[in-house]
Amino acid sequence: MDILQYALRRLLAGLPLLLGVTLFSFTLMVYFGPDKTFELLGKNPTAQEIAEVRHQLGYDRPFVLRYGEYLRELATVDFGNSDSTGERVSSLLARTIPVSLALELPGFVLGNLLGIALALLAAYHRGRWPDKLIMGLSVIGMSISFLVVIFVFQIWFCTSHGLDLFPVRGWGTASLADYLRHVTVPTLAMVFVALGYNTRFYRAVIVEEMGRDHVRTARAFGAAPARLFWRDILKNCAIPVITRIVFTIPAIVIGGALLLETSFGIPGVGKAAYEAIISGDQPVLKAVVGLTTALFVIALLVADILYRAVDPRVSLE
């Protein structure tokens, strides 16, 4: 009950954020974004044709009215039809979001789990060669551009110049084998890059915690290193870890992974959003921006509730 009340309060408090972000992005979209009109018209349109299309698109209505309509669409989660294809926006999202999730979830989970595991290993051996090796590799992961990693992995794994085990492009989830065939290389690329950042971040968090007095107390009472790291240290590190993980979720669900999706030709939401930006497909853009913000507000709330679960000093006020 407490948590429910708190959640409701926090969601209400998130409304101004939602209004602010949507107003700002909608203003940008309307006044500075690409105009769909001329894409829909042929060459040399007449002024009347232009006016007609603008009317169809709703561009001629007052800003306040259009923004109000946006809010109504957000509240009902119904964004109408795509200006480009005429497909319902909701069905477009329902089609692309699961693809992005299926694409990114393995890499996201592995990137974090392996990141924490390697960080623990590095922190445990801090200053000695395993630490230096892991930190060196993570700098490599951080330093190489994601795009380069993708290309190199594609050449290594997907072409006759390398192992030639996987398809370069495409997507399929007809069977588990089909899914694995398409998801493996993108996942490897994602893990390679994510590990660099994650390991460094988690190692810093763990090393800081290792220096705390309570860790010395635990050692003074005979705690073995395994228990010390898995229990005493890791639970104290949970807050920064949760923050990092929870706050990347909105970007993954709605943002997709544009580079992965375009490079591997995967029909995910990142690619759909990118195409909407290029072509000025306002209904899709409105949905992507609005839902990302809403998810972010929810992520804030989820993070706070999780903080409470791991740290008794945090109170839900």
């Binding site: 007095d213 010395r216 009472f221 005979g222 008794p312």
Partner: protein, 326 residues
């Protein structure tokens, strides 16, 4: 005095730290004995190496940057420095327990008092969770925590400073150690709590028949609590004596200076409280002879050449000085 075999014997202990500026000897050739059931004070000002000495007994000196560079630590006939890490873990908390200065940070903030106590108990004794909880409750009761049944499920931040230190004491007692190392256990507490906690430690030390090393800079605490005292200066022992002898007839000029600088009630002009002139030498550039020479009123040329060795005094103590007070 009849001297049984010491429970703990440090011999020529050297602890070094690598710092940005160079290698520092925080503890330089410290030897001391702790006999069963006695309470020994380790006295000195901040940075004199007393805490590092205490930490090295349990091999808890942070490493790197620190390391135990020489000497031996024998506990009950065993050389602790020769034990493998796993053997040392079995000693920590079971044979030798330690309590720390900062009760605010020394307990793990995300586990309940009961979980932390039970953890230590179950680590060293074969008890079920339920039995460990019962033992924890009894311990909390024993160290004077009100409503132990409620406190046991609370987190450290819900307790007062004094209560947290009592929890630390309960944890230290939980496996019936033979030696308790208390590093400034009351320094972070307010004055009334200090007295209560100290009284508790003294009572439990007698009850559990433990030996104790009390690390402190507070001579008042030494007088109240300890039977013997070792005075450290700059990483070395300068004087060792029974508390009674130390207070009535200090030999080392540094000890004399320490005792003189205690404010006394009824003294009319507090403004003239004597202080020891000068400063502790830079640990990176220690003088060749006696480290106290630059601040010493009794200094002679001899003092600056070779460090004075620890020699026995007439009243059974030890002093490292060429010109001790009679």
């Amino acid at each position: 005095m009849n001297h049984p075999t010491p429970l703990l014997a440090l011999r020529d202990l050297v602890v070094e730290f690598d710092t940005m500026a160079g290698r520092v000897r925080a503890v330089d050739g410290v030897s001391l004995d702790v006999f069963p059931e006695e309470s020994l004070a380790l006295v000195g000002e901040s940075g004199c190496g007393k805490t590092v000495t205490a930490l090295s007994i349990l091999r808890l000196v942070p490493q790197p940057p620190g390391r135990i560079a020489g000497g031996s630590i024998r506990f009950d006939g065993r050389d602790l420095l020769a034990l493998p890490e796993s053997g040392m873990r079995a000693v920590r908390g079971r044979d030798i327990a330690m309590i720390f200065q900062e009760p605010m940070t020394a307990l793990n903030p995300v586990f309940t008092v009961g979980a932390q106590l039970g953890d230590v108990i179950r680590r060293h004794q074969r008890l079920s969770r339920r039995e460990a909880r019962k033992a924890s409750l009894a311990l909390l009761e024993q160290v004077g925590i009100p409503e132990p049944g409620r406190r046991i499920d609370e987190y450290p931040h819900q307790l007062s400073g004094g209560q947290r230190q009592r929890v630390m004491i309960a944890m230290a007692l939980s496996c019936g150690p033979r030696l308790l190392v208390a590093d400034e256990p009351t320094t972070a507490l307010d004055v009334t709590t200090q007295a209560q906690v100290l009284e508790e430690i003294r009572r439990l030390q007698a009850e559990y028949r433990m030996a104790m090393i009390l690390v402190t800079h507070d001579l008042g605490i030494v007088a109240e609590t300890c039977t013997r005292a070792v005075v450290m200066y700059c990483g070395q022992v300068v004087e060792a004596a029974t508390t009674a002898a130390l207070f009535s007839r200090p030999h080392h000029p540094y000890t004399v200076g320490l005792l003189d600088s205690i404010p006394r009630l009824r003294e009319t002009r507090l403004a003239e409280l004597p202080v020891i002139p000068g400063r502790v030498p830079d640990p990176l550039q220690l003088p060749a002879g006696c480290r106290f020479a630059d601040r010493c009123p009794r200094v002679s040329a001899e003092c600056r050449v070779v460090s004075p060795p620890l020699v026995a005094t007439a009243d059974g103590g030890l002093v490292a000085c060429y010109h001790p007070h009679p």
